[in-house]
Symmetry: D2
Subunit: 334 residues, 4 copies
């Protein structure tokens, strides 16, 4: 099931950027959980386009409609939960030319290789960043459920176009002004009560594997690291090992957290820390070299339409959503 | 199934470092494939301990015994293939103390959190790097099958302890001399014929997700990146986008390969490139701070026994094995 | 994933009888298949209530709305296909009492055991026979795709309330007149071209296992048998074995078909035959003994509302749908 | 994964009848469970051939060797459990002719259709009834674990060759005397404490679906029914519905048990009852018509070697094993 993830809970994403609707189906969600719609919409609005001068102008209401999974009191009832968002502001004609001249950095060419003429490439189709909206519906609800269990998740942009702190926003604006875009790195921290130390499974269902699998399913992600990550490769064991200590209350902790809270794929009680690298938004307003698939010759493309100067910026709540979905899944496994 | 991976083909790893045997069960492997045992053993010997002054002295014959899956001509017959390696050189007493004083950087503490007193921690148990041996059996066979389809996979160490090229081996020796260890980065390249362009699935079963999931299941891995990876986060779209061109034979290629051959999670015909960051071997011959779980107080541990100064070095064939298993799985999906 | 089935193609059913909508999500459906909506609606109408004096009066338009998975030409595009049916004719008040006094033969009591007060029991909730409507959307499309590959599926009622042929319809009417209901047996035959002989997997993914798993997911099913089925248990090997013969064209067939076209779980070229036993519709208009869950004492219930006198009758297209979904899945596995 | 089953726990069977070994790999088995080897061997001996005049003479020690999953105290440790049985008494030459002239009622022909010349057909290969031995290892351990939770499982032969009670054993002997075989029906009852009422999942992971899926993976099974089963199809709703009553202790029960303890796929507190129909052993000592695959013409076959006159008889512990594996899986799902 290519558009699904999760071990106990199954999250399945559907939709194409310019189809009738996008949505998510969640099977084996916890039962008896009230959904706070206001809080959910607030979370979704963080991902929404058109929120600031740093994001695309596409205007989508992005109001989730719940089709199933709730009882009359809007409490999860054990049946699979399905929620969708209707697509309104679709401009298919914007994408007419990409069927022949694939956009560099996009999935147009590989979708054509795989699905041939049948692919729905409008706005990236099923490969579009817009598909992160239903992921955020699932994640937004998961965040509410986790909060009730005192698990807190928070992500932030720590780098954009090579710059950090205040400078990185200037870097985004500079790129945008030139019709260009920049990449970025999002860091996420998960804090959890001591009772969730020991969470995760050995080997390929471990917490790092599960998070990485879903993160690389988010469009534009090209790297994932935990704790010291690639930096750990530069260290010695005596530097990188997190030594254990016990406090007066008998709580065990580590003096450093190079492991990012994960040893052998299982939580050790320290905060979980991971970073995700996003490539620059491939859609830019600068002419680019491509090929004509029909004429089998070199061509040029100028991408019209709306796009974000830094996809990493809008991806912050998406990363939180991924972390929430995976954490909720793991605590649901017996 | 926590110790399994694969979408169509299922690879399941079993065993504990100092149990009776370690092994692999492979379901839905391609039928009609002859296994070249000599070539397989040659591949396995690359991972074997005791091969040089840079690796641990533990001496394991590591001869795979095939229990099922082959017909009388040693050709895969459609039944699940099971192969095991018996554990001989086990020294359980070396690990007696780790049940109480968990080793920093190892899974001892988290295994104890999860499995309590029942965990088999000897030599890392099911979390041991030794479990990569059966992974290499699967991968070694997969490499043979892929080679027949002209898919070639090759990994190498590109960085150790922050050093590159010849210097990195000196860095490893320096650390070893001090009873310390270093981390490292392994780069892997997958080359494939044009007909396998378009390989992979959308979203969470995409090639990057599948590779990352398995790579993070390899002990000591803390980071994975594709193509320009974390470097892409520093670039502008106009720099990072790989522009398309077509050659005289009608073959489409990209002028750069920042995507690492993967767009939208699907192969675009260019070589697949990814890098894996390994933390330093956590076992070092230097006293470390830890805690006594029984006495609930601070303690110290000095790890005896055998260990590698740079686990990334021995992991090179493991990375090739992972890449081979995942590629064979993907080309087996209809 | 409890409400899903399929090995390569994943079919996931969602919705509750009296929720907002019911629907199906299909991942990895074949690409490039045109959907004939008229033919699909004709198929769906066979399952629809209110078609004759033998079925319930509930009136549902049951028009599927396609949310995703099709391109602008209504051809499957590779993205997951989602279709839903809105629930209109819901009368929640009809079901107010069943939360306290569970209906005999229904899942009210077991849903309450599992989900406690959070269950949505209205009309059976997620356990309702109404959930077979989205199953029929998936199956109706699968039937179209299979027909293009010359695989034909046909089911019929062969027994009701112990009676056969014309008499069985009279038996249904008799029961209905008394506010009672009857069980029934549906037989299904799958005919396929020679090239699909050899279809299926060994052991637990075999064709019988896959069909049985899905069939027992259809409400009211209590038995499944293939070929001679329970009758085979009464035979001798010399009677039950289907002997092989070869015709002038080199086509191999069996002289009898007690195996129902399946040997070792794999098709042998002969028609696939299976029978499904349905219990009588549990909703009857006769007072029944039950208990009050709140008062913890014996009680009585008289079920109002609409129901079918023989659920097996309306299940005929459902059985065809199940067979089609499973067959399409199996021919999609490499 | 065709030779696996289970939702939370994964049971994977491997081996061919006349290969090196047969075995089972179990992932996510409960942790901290002591294995009573004596009791396990006693259970396995019930399935073993050569136990009476009613079973085949093949003599296999069938001693399970545990490769992984246990700690030094033979307690399950959380790592995947692998156990194997070596094949000793193999007589490959007995099966030389079946590669060309497939045995009626066996999987020889369909295995050839699927795997062509690569199939290992000796003694049925991976399709052999011998593969139920590792299933019984898993089931035997599961039975021990379930017993500790007061879940008891018991199966018996209730019909053979159409006869019941004492007569059925005579029927088996009669058939055996003529070199023939008979089919049979095995009934299984699962008794469990009240706290496991409410066990199972909705739709396709329901208890009936899970049991049926695995049961149809057992060689020679052609029918499965729960409670009144096919008999329910002959009843009226007023007869078949199990009415509820409550006793003085507040325990709810049903007055009849036509549902076999399962409503909506979920346990209702009453004993679980199901019946499995086995076809007659296809191997008989009577000449049968078949075809020569190489010469493409009609042929005859006389099967030498060892076989059971009634496979249902030896399948009794296999049915208990299946029930135990599935029940343990279900109670392990959160």
């Amino acid at each position: 099931m290519s558009s699904s993830f999760g071990i106990n809970i199954k999250y399945s994403i559907f939709g194409q950027s310019h189809g009738n609707a996008i949505g998510v189906l969640i099977d084996k969600f916890p039962v008896g959980e009230q959904i706070d719609f206001e809080e959910l919409n607030k979370f979704l609005s963080r991902r929404k386009p058109g929120q600031s001068d740093l994001t695309t102008k596409r205007n989508e209401a992005d109001e989730p409609i719940f089709l199933s999974g709730l009882n009359e009191q809007n409490i999860t009832c054990g049946a699979p939960l399905c929620a969708m968002i209707k697509n309104h502001d679709t401009r298919s004609q914007d994408y007419a030319n990409i069927y022949d001249t694939p956009r560099p950095g996009h999935a147009d060419y590989t979708a054509w290789l795989k699905y041939k003429g049948h692919a729905d490439l409008r706005g990236g189709g099923h490969f579009s960043g817009r598909l992160t909206a239903p992921l955020c519906i699932a994640g937004g609800i998961a965040l509410q459920i986790l909060k009730r269990r005192e698990i807190f998740i928070s992500a932030k942009l720590i780098e954009a176009g090579g710059a950090k702190d205040a400078l990185m926003f200037q870097t985004i604006r500079d790129a945008a002004a030139k019709g260009d875009s920049v990449g970025g790195v999002v860091e996420c921290v998960i804090d959890y009560p001591e009772k969730f130390a020991g969470l995760g499974e050995p080997m390929f269902d471990n917490l790092e594997s599960q998070l990485a699998k879903v993160l690389f399913g988010v469009p534009a992600v090209k790297g994932v690291e935990f704790g010291a990550g690639f930096g750990a490769a530069k260290l010695r064991g005596s530097q990188n090992n997190d030594e254990f200590r016990i406090d007066d209350n008998g709580k065990i902790h580590t003096l450093t957290n190079n492991s990012g809270g994960i040893l052998g794929g299982i939580t050790n009680g320290m905060p979980i820390i991971f970073r995700t690298a996003f490539k620059p938004t491939p859609s830019i307003s600068i002419p680019q070299k491509t090929v004509s698939l029909s004429e089998k010759k070199d061509a040029e493309i100028l991408i019209h339409g709306r796009h974000d100067p830094c996809v990493a910026l809008r991806a912050i709540p998406v990363i939180e959503a991924v972390a929430a979905c995976v954490m909720l899944d793991l605590i649901s496994i017996s």
